[in-house]
């Protein structure tokens, strides 16, 4: 097991700074997700942890050991790639055995390890096939097998599920979560998919422009987004962010320019203690268990998600209540969260 510490880690390509003075302490055995839009520096960060990209500035520690300049094959990390990256000239068994072969593990031991990994990932009937004879999900399981066969202390995953279809993605997601519980290794997982991040992570680092915008638990990120970027990146449908039209909580100083955020699901029937609002329903989109509404308030338009038994019809005027404590308030200039 290993804790991973990044201290002021920076990556520059010529004049472009991909990752800027990143400080991140990943705890031993933690499942850390780096989340952000493409080009935010999350994959670059992962590659620097792996040793596949040189670190321009800063220090990288595994536990107390400085590995900043260590080549990848000496770092003892395992990695799973979005593209699977299986060796096309080797069979499934040879792919999984390869890291052990390179370490000079005796053949009998390799065979045992490969068999046990294959069993765990349900690859046993496929061991003699080549990668081009496998489906996408099978290939990704082989890639996982190649990574776990070494029993590494650090596990790096670069969007491992992005190339799979939706159903497969769900089952692979729970497989990865189970693996984390079993292996108790440190996982660093890169994704742009907020659902993956929220379901898998112990903590999430939301990145944009090469900078960590917020580092917190999934609940913390969702409930207390540090700025408008984080607020709008997580949550589906997106949070409503408005300069005007939503009620300002009482504690916000009079005259201060703020952005008020309301999660679409943070609404209720108007009752005592809630701020009552009403607006004209412009669009109704049933989602099965819930219904998504587009609502025109005086001077603003918002999206809401309400239980389906509200039975809303287009064109009606809907009265609803919001809890001022559930509103998110951001400074209009800095876009940072302000709290009472």
């Amino acid at each position: 097991m290993a804790a991973i510490t990044l201290q002021g880690v920076t990556k520059r390509y010529g004049n472009v700074t991909a990752v800027q003075a990143l400080d991140l302490a990943i705890r031993e055995g933690e499942f850390m997700v780096l989340l952000g839009p493409s080009g935010c520096g999350k994959t670059t960060t992962l590659n620097m942890i792996a040793g596949l990209e040189e670190i321009s500035d800063g220090t990288l520690l595994f536990d107390a050991k400085d590995v900043t300049r260590l080549p990848p094959h000496k770092r003892e990390v395992a990695m799973v790639f979005q593209s699977y990256a299986l060796y096309p000239n080797k069979t499934v068994a040879e792919n999984i055995a390869f890291p052990l072969r390179l370490r000079g593990v005796p053949k009998a031991e390799i065979d045992r390890a490969v068999a046990s990994v294959a069993e765990q990932l349900e690859l046993t009937p496929l061991l003699q096939r080549r990668p081009n004879q496998l489906s996408g999900g099978q290939r990704q399981r082989v890639a996982l097998g190649r990574a776990i066969v070494r029993q590494p202390s650090v596990f790096l995953m670069d969007e491992p599920l992005s190339n799979l279809d939706a159903t497969l993605r769900l089952s692979m997601r729970s497989l990865i979560k189970r693996l984390h519980h079993q292996l108790k290794a440190t996982f660093v997982y890169v994704t742009h998919d907020q659902a993956e991040a929220l379901t898998l992570a112990d903590r999430i680092a939301v990145m944009q422009g090469g900078i960590v915008q917020q580092l917190d638990t999934p609940e913390g990120i969702y409930e207390r987004p540090a700025n408008t970027f984080v607020a709008s990146f997580l949550g589906s449908p997106q949070i409503n962010l408005l300069r005007a039209g939503l009620p300002r909580p009482a504690w916000v100083a009079e005259g201060r320019d703020v952005i008020v955020g309301l999660r679409p699901e943070d609404v209720a029937r108007p009752t005592e203690g809630l701020t009552a609002l009403s607006g004209r329903v412009e669009l109704v989109s049933p989602l099965g268990s819930e219904t998504q509404l587009e609502l025109a308030l005086p001077g603003a338009s918002i999206t809401l998600r309400v239980p389906k038994d509200w039975r809303v019809t287009e064109g009606e005027t809907l009265a609803f209540g919001i809890d001022p404590a559930r509103l998110h308030v951001f400074d209009a200039a800095t876009e940072r969260r302000i709290a009472p």
């Binding site: 792996a50 596949l52 080549p71 990848p72 790639f81 593209s83 000239n89 390869f98 290939r139």
Partner: protein, 291 residues
């Protein structure tokens, strides 16, 4: 219909154009001098026989002028033909082998390792091939002479490598760049250093390019005339093209002998092509990464 006929006609003409000389070479190598020079020509040997080949393989013992009786006569350099064949083979194999070794490592470094001046290195290597060979002959001769390498196999090997290595590097780089980068990354993570990545990823997946490079280097060396003419002056290091060219520069030309020598000269490259053609297959990286 007419289209297909025309297509067939022109295909046949093209085949004849390409294969005609080779077929004539084969046919005439089995004929006697008088049959080759007959008018109209004998397209097929009237009395096919291996006498010309026998003459080549016995030329060393009896390199006398005009001692072949009715079959024809021997050119003055006939005894040098077999040593030249051996020289050509030696030079060709050395060039093919060393070319691969140097180009492979250089191409890997340029294609895979991100070092400062990588583009500049590639351009410098390629720029050496912009200068025509004829401009280099005299300076090269002086260098080789000062090194004391004139009339040696080594002189030819070194010179030919200077021709083949830049091209081979270029070919291999473009091939290497087509191999998914994630495979390299995966191999580094799995525990390979640069040698390991070269051996386990780039070598097995670029087999067709390696075979092509091998053939290219061997053929370049096998066919080369200009440098061989200048850098070698006696039978110790002279290669086939020089010796065979000498036959037609003789005071009389023995077509039967020259043609038989020609057949022998094309055999090694043809054999090489037959042996290696099964490795020239595409689609080696199928299934490596998501397509």
């Amino acid at each position: 219909m007419a289209r297909r006929l025309l297509l067939a006609l022109f295909s046949a003409l093209f085949v004849l154009y390409v294969a005609g000389p080779v077929l004539w070479l084969l046919s005439s190598s089995l004929q006697m001098e008088s049959e080759i020079t007959a008018v109209p020509p004998n397209w097929l040997p009237p009395h096919p026989g291996l006498h010309n080949f026998t003459a080549i393989f016995t030329a060393g013992d009896s390199a006398e002028y005009a001692n072949r009786g009715i079959a024809g006569f021997l050119p003055s350099g006939a005894a040098n033909l077999l040593p030249a064949l051996y020289n050509s083979l030696k030079v060709g194999l050395w060039v093919a082998g060393l070319n691969l070794l140097f180009s492979l490592t250089a191409a890997y470094a340029i294609a895979v390792i991100d070092f400062k001046g990588r583009r500049a290195t590639l351009y410098t290597v390629l720029a050496t091939r912009v200068i025509p060979d004829i401009a280099l002959v005299v300076p090269l001769f002086l260098v080789i002479r000062n090194l004391g390498l004139i009339n040696s196999i080594g002189a030819l090997v070194v010179t030919y490598l200077a021709v083949t290595v830049p091209f081979t590097i270029f070919i291999l780089i473009s091939y290497f760049e087509g191999i998914p980068r994630d495979l390299y990354r995966a191999s580094r993570i799995d525990g390979c250093g640069h040698w390991g990545a070269l051996r386990h990823v780039y070598l097995p997946l670029s087999l067709p390019a390696l075979v092509a490079a091998l053939m290219f280097a061997f053929l370049t060396s096998w066919n080369e005339f200009l440098f061989a003419l200048v850098l070698t002056q006696n039978a110790a290091a002279q290669t086939l093209p020089i010796i065979i060219a000498g036959f037609v520069m003789d005071f009389t030309t023995s077509f039967s002998f020259v043609n038989a020598a020609g057949v022998i000269a094309i055999l090694p490259p043809v054999l090489l092509a037959i042996i290696f053609q099964r490795y020239i297959v595409s689609g080696l990286t199928a299934g490596a990464v998501k397509g």
